[in-house]
Assembly symmetry: C2
Homo-oligomer: 138 residues x 2
């Protein structure tokens, strides 16, 4: 379903811009919005357009190379993925720092309750937000 139509304008590697984005994602610790990431790249002196940042993030997330979540305002946040396994996050509301957590228990729970309700083709989103130790100290 996803290998059918390669999105136009997306080599992900090989261009100056793709490289810069990859590096930035490497450095940035937590979940950031596309605009944040773009601003960071500009701050570093990179010449890159917001459009390109969105495009690459889109492909990277389809490929599973970055995780995405939605914050409470509905904005999409991106972060370089550490493991390719299915997992969830505890994310700091204030600084975006996040910790990956194992969630076999929730997976099982989600599958079970959905099955009990007779639903199929089931998917779930689980996100935990809070204040990280550093931000809580302030």
């Amino acid at each position: 379903m996803s290998a059918s139509q390669p999105v136009r304008g997306t080599r992900v590697r090989g261009t100056r811009q793709a490289e810069a984005l990859a590096t930035a994602l490497e450095d940035l610790a937590g979940f950031r919005s596309a605009q944040d990431i773009h601003a960071e790249l500009r701050r570093r002196g990179e010449r890159i357009g917001l459009t390109t940042v969105y495009r690459h993030l889109m492909v990277l997330s389809e490929d599973g190379a970055v995780d995405t979540i939605r914050d409470e305002d509905g904005e999409t946040l991106y972060r370089r993925c550490e493991t390719s396994e299915h997992h969830h996050h505890v994310t700091c509301r204030s600084c975006g720092r996040s910790v990956e957590v194992e969630g076999r228990a929730v997976e099982r729970w989600a599958d079970r309750v959905a099955a009990e309700a007779g639903f199929v083709d089931v998917d779930h989103t689980v996100e935990i937000f809070g204040l990280c130790p550093a931000c809580a100290a302030k």
Copy 2:
């Protein structure tokens, strides 16, 4: 924190529009977008503005009278709340029908993993999407 500033334009009851919205929410089975609900009201011949629908839904959700979730496109969906206790939903991707499920297990899991990571002031979102039996049959 929420009792400080009464939102302007929101009696929730007593006006023709508020009544119509309440009735529509009563009738509509599952989670619907504000625009859906507005369209439904118009279909029924109600004279009500989209703004008003948004305003009421906002207040109703603050009051806990309707549940809100976000679909995968980031749109907010609303549904009349059945119980005032904290709960989660299994929602049909196709028709919006949803089943409330008890989630003490997830609550505990969320609190535990957040605490292990040292996070405080923790909040979580858990949503399950799938196809309901009726929609799966098609």
